[in-house]
């Protein structure tokens, strides 16, 4: 099991609160992520996990609380100041977010072309290496519109690792993928973690994925962290909501039948 006591903290979230139009999406989040681990943030739709992720990479500013990324407090930094720390991280988007106007090779080489002074031939080799890692050797000249969803995800991943980041963030990496492709992505996440000693922060609600890849899991519910633990600890959790979630039961503390007024009240709470 991963020893977390003496490891470096790469992501630290302290008392994070975020309000959108009067509604508290994140209600006091505290978490620490250690170097080298695969940390999964899970929870139901609308629990705030994607919002939390965007705070950690600096795309959203909190209402209150602090975010530290790779030792730097990024809470108050503006776009340009975030550049340095952003070059050390990579992100895989739910929609893969490939640039439609460029082909696969150009997508993957973009960060290299913009942030380094490497020669074109060196960049081409690096692109080949990254595509090889995600199992897409030879796909450089295809356009994003010509490849499948699963392939787009993998190209997005290749682009995220182009600059050899220290942390990779994944936003719903297996969303919309078939079981085989989901297993492929899971394997890639584990491989990257082991081969490149990367810290992985994965936001997902795919339980099979969670249990396969996670070193530690944080369960979010209604903007709060319900529980953090290893997969074994989470499975043994005495919290009913956690149990309902990991077992995928349609009824439990999170109700199937809900009064409309209760729902609306919950939205504006």
């Amino acid at each position: 099991m991963l020893q977390t006591d003496d490891k470096e903290v790469v992501v630290e979230v302290t008392d994070l609160v975020k309000e959108f139009a009067g509604r508290r999406v994140l209600n006091g989040i505290n978490m620490k992520i250690y170097r080298g681990e695969t940390f999964v943030i899970m929870g139901g739709s609308g629990c705030g996990k994607s919002t939390l992720l965007r705070h950690v990479i600096g795309n959203i500013k909190p209402t209150s609380g602090r975010v530290k990324l790779l030792g730097t407090d990024i809470t108050d930094l503006v776009e340009e100041q975030l550049d340095d720390v952003r070059k050390k991280i990579g992100m895989s988007f739910q929609s893969s977010a490939l640039f439609d106007s460029m082909n696969v090779g150009e997508n993957v080489s973009l960060p290299l072309r913009e942030h380094t002074k490497l020669d074109k031939t060196v960049i081409d080799i690096m692109v080949k290496m990254k595509l090889e890692l995600v199992g897409l050797r030879g796909f450089e000249n295809l356009m994003p519109s010509e490849i499948s969803g699963g392939m787009k995800k993998r190209v997005g991943l290749a682009r995220a690792i182009a600059m050899d980041p220290q942390i990779i963030f994944y936003d719903e990496p297996t969303a919309g993928l078939d079981p085989i492709m989901s297993a492929v992505i899971d394997k890639l996440i584990i491989d990257l973690s082991k081969k490149l000693s990367i810290t992985s922060v994965v936001v997902t609600h795919d339980m099979k994925s969670v249990m396969t890849i996670a070193d530690r899991i944080a369960m979010l519910y209604e903007g709060r962290v319900l529980e953090i633990g290893t997969p074994v600890e989470i499975k043994r959790s005495k919290n009913e909501i956690v149990q309902q979630f990991i077992n995928g039961s349609f009824d439990g503390p999170i109700k199937f039948f809900q009064e409309k007024d209760d729902y609306l009240e919950q939205l504006t709470k």
């Binding site: 952003r86 990579g90 929609s95 977010a97 640039f99 973009l110």
Partner: protein, 265 residues
């Protein structure tokens, strides 16, 4: 029932906020154009040329035809009056001056807003809703430098060029009417055209076209980057950019026309 003053006030404040944001985007763009190269971060030349081809080269045909038809129409309309004064040759001056000062720059701007402005808003809007803008930011690449600067430069350079083409095609249109309908001599028509057309007519038109180019670029980029709400949002942004561009272009035209001709510049 909401208080009507509240509603109007709300709209006014909203518009003010947007105008401030567009100005901020404008200064950001200018900063990247002039200071970027010194930081080693100039905008991509390939990107700029691609945008110039799209905005300029591919707009030539439509500008060509619209300007020629405009020239024809001005000639026909003014000929009707001028014939009665026995001064039909002045059609040449009417056409060239109206085109150079007003119709060349304005019609070209409307064409470009409709064609290029809407495409920019649609493209940037689609990128926004598919998380591509966010992806750029996460890769530590500034969307303004990457996306706005090339489009801005393309429009600012191509608008005056297209306007000159429009001015020329307007004269050709007028000449067609003059020669075939009004029995004017080609040589006389051309000489008359340039006898009355002053340099000031032309450069004021070009200044207008540059101002229009800046406005169209800023409005369509701003609206595009602010898109929200999926496919419907992209459709709304596209329409919005054209409508606002049209209004702002005419507004700028009023201001600049007043400035040039009533302040003895």
């Amino acid at each position: 029932m909401r208080n009507p003053i509240e509603v109007v006030g709300g709209i006014f404040l909203g518009v003010m906020k947007d105008m401030v944001s567009i100005l901020a985007l404008f200064f950001n763009t200018i900063a990247w154009i002039f200071l970027g190269p010194f930081k080693g971060k100039a905008a991509s030349r390939q990107s700029i040329f691609q945008q110039m081809v799209f905005a300029g080269v591919q707009s030539v045909i439509i500008v060509f035809f619209i300007s020629m038809f405009t020239g024809i129409v001005i000639a026909m309309q003014s000929a009707y009056q001028l014939k009665q004064l026995g001064a039909v040759i002045y059609v040449a001056a009417m056409v060239s001056i109206s085109m150079a000062r007003e119709l060349g720059p304005v019609f070209t701007a409307l064409v470009v807003a409709g064609r290029v402005g809407s495409a920019i808003a649609a493209e940037l809007g689609t990128m926004k809703v598919s998380e591509q803008i966010e992806a750029l930011e996460t890769l530590a690449l500034d969307p303004v430098r990457f996306l706005v600067v090339p489009r801005f430069l393309a429009l600012v350079v191509m608008m005056p060029v297209l306007t000159l083409i429009a001015d020329a095609m307007g004269v050709v249109g007028g000449m067609i009417v003059g020669v075939f309908n009004l029995q004017l001599n080609v040589y006389r028509y051309i000489t008359f055209t340039f006898e009355f057309l002053t340099w000031k007519d032309v450069w004021t038109g070009l200044i207008k076209s540059i101002a229009f180019g800046v406005a169209i670029a800023m409005i369509s980029c701003y609206v595009g980057l602010r898109t929200g709400g999926g496919a419907e949002g992209v459709g709304k942004s596209t329409t919005l950019s054209v409508v606002i561009s049209f209004i702002i272009v005419i507004f700028i035209d009023v201001i600049l026309t007043g400035l040039f001709y009533f302040s003895q510049v």
